[in-house]
Each structure stands twice: as structure tokens, then as C-alpha cells.
Subunit: 400 residues, 2 copies
């Protein structure tokens, strides 16, 4: 599959993109971006579960409701979350209205989205002044410029795409995302925009997004611990002229899930200060939910993450993190593998070649498997990253 920054993105038909510097962030770097399907697209979205929700999140929900999930434009800004401010609701609405007028569409067909600092008033004039220039720049091949404009503390662009040959023709899927602070992702605003040129109806699209989100963004420790602005939006404009039928929809769902998994992986790999992507697989537990809680607990453990940063096969920390996940299990049933090497069997140390394993842990991707010998059907996968620097100076050298 494609993705990871510099690769060429396969572009779905019938979308235009634009990005511009509107002066929202201090650094002169594009901070306002636009995604416009040639005709209103069918949309599905998932939003943050935080009690404190930014104005654009609340307005986006309202607009999707009013428009029967039709989207004619997505207006994103970086540098200001437009959250916990006096004027937030007015600013979000005013910018959507102005854009709708300029694009000759309805206000509720515009989805606003913001990321950046919380609690600082966002000056709507900056956006209103920039809109004409932004609209003038709209172009089918400006996908990457939008993918760049939405980044905040990210160190690299995060995009992924796929194409899929169906009976009646080819459909394409392309996604972009932003996300930082993934050491604990609880506050990192994650935005994700995924476009396809397949034709899908509203119900299908919602179901598909839910399922794909579960395996991608919600396996990134984002669920529950959400920011005020999180949002993943999936658009299907039908520009390919292909409407997947029956089983084809499942294949398309799989492909969109791949794209979103790649985006989630890229977020984990670009965690602040991260040098390694960590993929945790839990299996053999009673239920998927049990496996999920265990994988998540391991993914959230700073001591596991510092051990991996230091290439230290300290599986005791993994076992202990599983132990406080809230899931009941018998420690004597537990098996742990690091990079495919058994390090723990029946809850105690397995025999392994430590220098060799340490070398394997130096790789950019580390795989942790934690399995129960109880042979349940529950399994789950989680993405996270290692935890480096000051914290590791103490923890990474603790064992040796």
C-alpha cells in the first residue's frame, strides 16, 4: 500500500484542493485549507467524545444533520482550535456562510474544522480575507498542499491512497491526516479527511466509517481520551461513476480501512520525539474488548514505551501493564513475544538471546504480541510509539 509522505498519492476523481497562509499561526506556513468535491459528496463523520467540544465540531455535526450528510466543501484551519472562546460559534458560522456564498452552495453544506491552541479567540477576518485567494487556488492536484497545511507539531505529511478495480470500473481512495503529541494521544487533535470517488449511500458510508475507525483511529488510544477537536470525515462523491454492489462494498470497506490504518500508523510513528512505531497485538483473550483493553494498557504504558526506546526487552513491564488493564486473567497463561521472539511463556521468562533481540528492537517498527493460552477468540491491535529522551535516561537504563 502507498502512503508515508513522499509517495505520489492516487487521487480520487472530482475533488479540488487549496491551501493558503491566512495569518492564523505566527509562522508563515499555510494554515487555511479547502477540500471541494465537484458536486456535493455523500459524507460520514466521527467526532471527539470530549465534553468540551470546539465550535467547529458542534457546527459540523449540525451541518451534517441539516444537509442529510451532504458536503460541498471542507474548510480547515490550523493554528487555532476555535475552542473555549467567546466568539467561537460566531466565527465558525461566519466563515462557513462566507464560503457557501462564494461557492454558491448552502451554508449547511460546508464543514468547518480547526486544530491548534485552545482558548484563544480566532479572528474571523483573517479567514474571510483569505477566502477569495484560497478559492482561486482550487486545483485537483493540490492534495498535498492541504495535507501540509493541516499539520501542527507533526514532523511530516501523512497521506495514504489506494485504487480498487471493481466489476464496473476503478474507484480510488485517498486520505490525509494530522496528529501529534502521541506519547499520550489524549489531547492531540486528530483530523482525518478521506475521499473516495466511489458512489455510496449515506447508511453504507456511516457503517463503513465506524468499522474502519475502530480498526484505525480508535486503535491509536484516541477513543475516550479525545481532544476537543477530533474529527474524521469520509467523503464519497461518486465521480468514478462506479457504485460498488453487494460483496464489492466489503472489499471497498477493507481498502478504506487500509488507508485509515496507514494514516493511524503514520500518526503513531510521528509521535512527538518518537523513533519507533510500536504495534501491539493481543490475542487469545475472552473477548475483543478484553484484548483491546490489554493492548491499550500496554500501548499507554510509559515504562513499556521507554523500554522499547532503549531496545530493552523488559517484558515484565508489558505483563504488569496488562495486569492493571482491568481485565481478569491468570498470569500463568500469558505469552509475550517481541519482534517474533518468545520472551515470556506461562507468565515467566522464556529463554532468548538478549543481544540478538536487542538488535532486533533497534528497528523502526517494533511488534509486541501478548497472548493468552486460554485460547479465547478475542483479539485486538493497537498502534503507539516509543518514548524517548529525558524520561528514558532514567527508565531505559533501569534494568541494565
Amino acid at each position: 500500500m502507498s502512503g508515508w509522505g513522499d509517495k505520489t498519492v492516487i487521487l480520487p476523481l472530482g475533488y479540488r484542493y487549496a491551501a493558503e497562509y491566512a495569518g492564523i499561526r505566527k509562522q508563515e506556513k499555510d494554515d487555511l485549507a479547502l477540500i471541494v468535491p465537484d458536486s456535493p459528496a455523500q459524507a460520514a463523520a466521527v467526532f471527539t467524545q470530549n465534553v468540551v467540544q470546539a465550535s467547529p465540531v458542534r457546527l459540523a455535526r449540525k451541518h451534517l444533520h441539516r444537509s442529510n450528510s451532504k458536503v460541498a466543501a471542507v474548510l480547515v484551519n490550523a493554528g487555532n482550535a476555535n475552542c473555549a472562546t467567546r466568539t467561537g460559534d460566531r466565527v465558525a458560522l461566519a466563515t462557513c456562510k462566507a464560503l457557501a456564498r462564494a461557492l454558491r452552495t448552502k451554508t449547511e453544506y460546508v464543514i468547518p474544522s480547526s486544530t491548534g491552541v485552545i482558548g484563544v479567540e480566532l479572528d474571523s477576518k483573517l479567514i474571510l480575507d483569505a477566502l477569495p485567494g484560497l478559492i482561486g487556488k482550487l486545483a485537483p492536484d493540490a492534495f498535498d498542499s492541504v495535507a501540509d497545511a493541516i499539520l501542527t507539531t507533526d514532523t511530516r505529511r501523512k497521506v495514504a491512497s489506494e485504487e480498487l478495480k471493481l466489476k464496473n470500473g476503478v474507484v480510488r481512495v485517498a486520505g490525509m491526516t494530522k496528529g501529534s503529541g502521541m506519547i499520550h494521544p489524549n489531547m492531540a487533535t486528530t483530523l482525518g479527511f478521506v475521499m473516495t470517488d466511489a458512489a455510496m449511500d449515506a447508511g453504507e458510508l456511516h457503517k463503513l466509517l465506524r468499522a474502519a475507525t475502530e480498526r484505525s483511529y480508535n486503535s491509536l488510544c484516541v477513543d475516550g481520551d479525545t481532544s476537543t477537536n477530533d474529527m474524521v470525515l469520509l467523503l464519497a462523491n461518486g465521480a468514478s461513476g462506479v457504485r460498488p454492489g453487494g460483496k464489492e462494498r466489503l472489499v471497498l470497506q477493507e481498502v478504506i480501512t487500509w488507508v485509515m490504518e496507514s494514516l493511524a500508523e503514520q500518526i503513531a510513528a510521528d509521535g512527538e520525539g518518537a523513533r519507533k512505531l510500536i504495534v501491539i497485538r493481543a490475542c487469545g483473550f475472552k473477548t475483543n474488548d478484553d484484548a483491546r483493553r490489554i493492548a491499550r494498557s500496554v500501548a499507554n504504558s510509559p515504562l513499556v514505551k521507554t523500554a522499547i526506546a532503549g531496545s530493552d526487552p523488559n517484558w515484565g513491564r508489558i505483563l504488569a501493564a496488562a495486569g492493571y488493564s482491568g481485565v481478569k486473567f491468570d498470569p500463568a497463561d500469558i505469552e509475550i513475544d517481541l519482534q517474533g521472539v518468545p520472551v515470556c511463556r506461562r507468565g515467566v521468562a522464556a529463554e532468548y538471546d538478549e543481544p540478538e533481540l536487542k538488535q532486533k528492537l533497534d528497528q523502526a517498527e517494533v511488534r509486541i504480541r501478548i497472548a493468552s493460552r486460554a485460547k479465547g477468540k478475542g483479539e485486538a491491535r493497537f498502534f503507539t510509539c516509543d518514548l524517548t529522551e529525558g524520561y528514558i535516561e532514567i527508565n531505559g537504563s533501569y534494568r541494565t
Copy 2:
């Protein structure tokens, strides 16, 4: 109140202490320690809630049960957690047995306790060989040597003490603790040993310890997220000859709580890489539990902790952390104060002098108050520390 390392500890009557290097940790630094009341003390203990429990934790529970909570000796080692090992149970039992024989007491009167790496076999011979020398060293004034021996990645000794004049005489309380990795305390083994020379019966002592733990160790984010070895032990040997009656017991409970709060604060202040102690107070929420969940969520937020490290009054992160605590509230009701300065009122920014506040945030202790205007009676307090270094390079400079 006393505490914080170098101060002289007020020693309860009737306890002897000893520490020795037994060769368990690689660095030549005392790693085996002993606390011995002159006659068996009444004891109460709280233990880790982790599913994975170290052998000494399981044996300590058993011994307290069998002895009707009488303790004649506490044997602690650092450098090896004696957890998730093949021989763990045997090692814990063998060392308790040997010590009981040497002290002419019963095996179930000995409490074992370990801290250090998980999953590495602990060689009982190291301990057995060191016991005679250790016992020979027992002395009433060797309290600090034990407080030092139990430390692992801690940078300083953590002790606190108080004396209390009651109607029938003076009683004394002294405690020592260890704890590290407090950036998230979920894996840091915390051991706490608190001794008093007051006379207390078993039921009183248990009740007292539960209440004091709630306000100290369990307000350090330790509850739920526990290590395999956590244990806090309270001993009352009655050597003062004073048995507090009626209301006096409540005063003693308060004093023991102070000592334990001081120990918890010292753990937070010595969090790995920490430069600041952060004390979070939540009030005005519906229930104590609501307040607690909010305070804990703020205490656990790496983005709040990096902001404090950078003396950045980024209250939006505090609001957002409260928002994902799971507690329902209206953001428009929220007030936030930093170092006593109002920074958020009715969910939006208050007017404050940012340079002046930044200076106040440079202090070694930072106080965060998050209150609801709903004027509920629920309140809670939590201790944590700032998050420094690599992680702050990105997050601390994010806003400015």
C-alpha cells in the same frame, strides 16, 4: 510538618532498623533492609490492585491474615521485584523463614517486600547470606539507612514524621517511602512504611490506613494503575504506652494522614525528570468521585504537565483534560486558577497578566484549581509533577 530528606526524623519508640548491601543490585548500594519492632506490632496494609502480583505481595497478605495482623519484622529488598519468576514464592518464603528463625519469631510474623525489575529470578542465597550481618546491625537510629536502601530510581530520600501530645502522653509517627517513574505512576512500585508507637487495635488501624491512603497515595494516581509490588504498611507497636481514646483517635488519624500526604507529595516532587510538584484541586462538582476523576484526569495529562514545565498558562489543556475525564459538566460553568490567578471563567479566558503569571509558574510548586460554578460539594486533591525534556521541546513551545 517535617519531612523532605535532610530533616531529622522524630523516631517512634520501640523500633530498630538495619540496611545492608546483599548484592541484589549491581551498584554497590544497600539493597536489603529490616524494620523490627521490639515486640510484635499491630499492623494494617494496603496492596496493589494489579492482577499480576509479586510473590512477596501475595505472601505478605497471607502472613497478615495468619498472624491476625501482627508483625515482628519487615524484610525489604530493592533491585529485584521478585515477580513473574519461577522461584518467586519459594524465595519469599525461604527468606521469611530464615529471618523468623534468626529473630525467634513465627514465619507469619515476617512481612516480605520487594521492588525492582520484574521477571528476573531473585537469588535467595544473597539474602540468606546477608541476614546475620543485617540483624547484627539493627539499631534504633538507623531509620534513614532503611529509607535510603529502599530507593530505586528515586533521586532523594523520602521521610516524614510528626509527634502528637495526647492526654496520657506523647505518641510519634514516622514514615518512609520510595517511588519513581511518576510521570505516570502506573508502573512505579511504591512502598511505604509508617511506624507509630501509639497503641491501636486492629480494626481502628485498618480504618485509619484506608482513610489516610485515600488522601495520600491514592491521590497520586496510583489507584487502579498499580504496579505488581505496591504496598503501604502501617505498624503500631504501643511502645509509647499511650492508647488514644475517642476523639484522640481522629487526631492521630489526621496526623498519620499528614505524614502520608507528605510522603505522597515527596514522591510526586521526585517524579522522574520533574522540576515541579503540581497540586491539583477540583471543587464544586457533584460528588467527591466526580471531583476526583477530574483532578486525576488533569494530573495524568502529559500536555498539562509539559505546559507547567514550560511555565505556560495553557489552561485550555486543563479544560480539555477535565472534558475527557468521563464526568459530565457544562464547560460554561468552569473556573480555572493557576497559582491563585484566575485564568478561565465561565469556560473562556479570564483577563490576566501573562508575564507575571509565567513568573509565578516558575516556582517549585504549582497549584491548579478547577472549580464548577454549579457549587456541588464534591472536591478532591491530586499530586503530580511536571513533564520535562524532549517531550517539552515540542509541547512546551507549541503555544508561543
